[in-house]
């Protein structure tokens, strides 16, 4: 059992509580999407799960072990996290950036082994950026760049991958592209994926497990079709909406109402 779970987790900024006493278990080998209005604490939760945020109360465990009791590098060999604040240094090339995902597997001077090279090559292949390997990251399009970051995270070879709003700044086509890629990785490798998403309908379509948050707590969680109802959308987002079946996937499709279009 390698479940990543939050137990009575409290997180905050400078004494201001953002999340209090939250319990959550990421189902193994599944895709979990966390949705909720701005400032509901969804990104903070993900950061807490990845030990990027100091814990004020409760704990986060991995396979039963408190993650703060693990050496950071050991945790980084089991849980990968792609934060929103990633920076591609000026002039860095794709293969070089992806190779930095090997850091938790290396010693102080980061000597490269042939093992590392093979892992990096596989990561480049499976994200479809192998032919870009020698290009500077700065020259790539937004969609390609995000694939490169995913490749770096894959080179980390973890069973669990956390992503904080990986589709932000991408157009619809590239959003679908990226979510398809993550689904592929989940199916082919059995990687547990958890991500914060803004787009409710895509979250409902791609997630096995949907977590709806509001004001630092979980409003509802479970299979999207069971979770994403008119009531839950109203409670979490304060939004009047109709929920109809997605004509493509059959998952819930949230159609917001607004003030000027009363609807049928």
């Amino acid at each position: 059992m390698t479940n990543l779970r939050a137990e009575g987790l409290s997180l905050g900024y400078d004494g201001l509580k953002v999340i209090e006493g939250l319990d959550l278990t990421l189902p193994d080998g599944k895709i979990t999407a966390v949705v909720g209005p701005n400032a509901c604490g969804k990104s903070t939760l993900l950061r807490g799960l990845a030990r990027l945020h100091p814990i004020d109360g409760g704990r986060v465990t991995l396979g039963g072990t408190d993650i703060t009791a693990m050496p950071r590098k050991e945790l980084a060999r089991k849980v990968a996290m792609l934060p929103q604040s990633s920076i591609a240094p000026d002039g860095v090339r794709v293969a070089e950036l992806v190779a930095r995902g090997r850091y938790p597997h290396q010693g102080w001077f980061g000597r490269h082994s042939s093992d590392d090279d093979a892992v990096v090559a596989t990561a480049l292949e499976s994200t479809g950026v192998a032919e870009l390997a020698d290009r500077p990251v700065a020259e790539l399009s937004g969609g390609q760049r995000q694939r490169v970051w995913i490749a770096m995270v894959l080179a980390q070879q973890t069973d669990i991958v956390l992503l904080d709003e990986p589709t932000t700044f991408l157009d619809v086509r590239h959003q679908l592209d990226l979510l398809d890629l993550l689904t592929e990785l989940n199916r082919d490798r059995g990687t547990t994926v958890a991500m914060v998403l803004h787009e409710l309908n895509l979250a409902a379509r791609y997630a096995d497990h949907l977590v709806v948050m509001s004001a630092g707590r979980i409003v509802a969680e479970g299979a999207p079709s069971a979770v994403l109802t008119q009531e839950v959308v109203d409670e979490a987002f304060g939004l009047r909406a109709q929920v109809v079946p997605d004509p493509v996937a059959g998952t819930p499709l949230v159609v917001p109402v607004g003030r000027f279009h009363a609807g049928a």
């Binding site: 604040s85 920076i87 000026d90 860095v92 070089e96 938790p104 290396q106 102080w108 001077f109 980061g110």
Partner: protein
């Protein structure tokens, strides 16, 4: 790497051979291996040029390495020892040494410079808490606070003013081998630390969050880097005065040559530091017929165009 090494050898040779009195490289070699007492050429090499060359090597390595570390750890391409307030701290300590304690020999105020730089760094790093923007702001605040204090002392003490005029420009003369003999262990420790931290800087360059997610203790990296920076920049300032631009330009030049891997940037930076400083020193001897320009002045004149070239070549929008 080999090119940088060759450039360093060449500039060391030039530093030993060239000046008001040009000396044949063969004689330079003889002076070093089998000196003849009383032979003017040999005396010039051993008594004047060897000390300033060794000072230039030590200070150059320290500046190049410190500059690379500072830019890496702050992710700030315009960071250098001056930005973090180290030079102003050293300057204040030196003018106080002259004013209060009447110290007049370079060997006497070496430690003052060192302690001044270290004190300024301690303030900047502890208040700045490792956050790049905060470090730069606190560094600027410390410099802004110290600069008028320096002026205050200089206005009151004629002797301090005279000494400071030359010291503050940065120069390799007037400091002997004994100064280097005292300070080289600091450079050694600083360089070893910098080498050990180089790969960590590669991760730090991706952002604090990514570095942490990859399993790095970012705080530890910053603390160790701060120690190395104080040792290196403190030594460089003690040896050569607050030389401007070497610590700023060298990392950019190194990046141009070897790309974004800090393990290479650090190595090349450590070689290019003394190349730049010694080149400045040698040129300073040659431009004026009967006199010299201080290395610090020439380094600034050399460095500024390089910096402009780097700025023009850089994709500012994509930074």
């Amino acid at each position: 790497m080999l090119t940088a090494l060759a450039a360093l050898l060449l500039v060391v040779l030039a530093s030993l051979a060239l000046g008001v009195r040009d000396i044949d490289p063969v004689e330079v070699w003889r002076a070093l291996t089998a000196p003849v007492a009383g032979f003017v050429d040999h005396d010039v090499v051993l008594d004047q040029r060897l000390p300033r060359t060794v000072v230039g090597l030590a200070a150059g390595v320290a500046l190049g390495t410190a500059g690379t570390l500072i830019q890496g750890v702050t992710r700030n391409p315009i960071a250098d020892p001056g930005l973090l307030g180290l030079n102003s701290g050293a300057s204040l300590a030196v003018v106080c040494a002259v004013w209060i304690f009447g110290v007049t020999s370079p060997i006497g105020y070496v430690w003052f410079a060192f302690v001044g730089a270290a004190a300024a760094a301690a303030i900047v790093f502890s208040v700045g808490r490792g956050q790049p923007v905060r470090l730069a702001l606190v560094g600027a605040a410390v410099t802004a606070l110290i600069t008028p204090l320096i002026t205050l002392v200089l206005l009151r003490d004629q002797q301090a003013f005279n000494l400071y005029r030359f010291w503050s420009v940065g120069s390799l003369t007037g400091r002997g081998l004994d100064t280097v003999a005292m300070l080289w262990p600091f450079v050694l420790v600083g360089v070893v630390l910098a080498a050990a931290l180089a790969h960590r800087l590669n991760m730090l360059a991706l952002g604090d969050d990514v570095a942490t997610a990859l399993g790095q203790r970012v705080g530890t990296t910053r603390a160790l880097a701060a120690v190395a920076i104080v040792l290196l920049a403190g030594t460089a300032t003690s040896l050569a005065g607050p030389v401007a631009l070497v610590g700023l330009v060298v990392p950019h030049a190194a990046r141009r040559l070897v790309g974004t891997d800090y393990r290479w940037i650090m190595a090349i930076g450590a070689l290019l530091g003394p190349v730049m400083l010694l080149t400045a020193d040698v040129l300073g001897r040659l431009v004026l017929p009967r006199s010299e320009l201080e290395a610090g002045v020439v380094a600034a004149l050399l460095g500024a165009p390089v910096l402009v070239a780097v700025a023009r070549g850089r994709n500012v929008a994509g930074a």
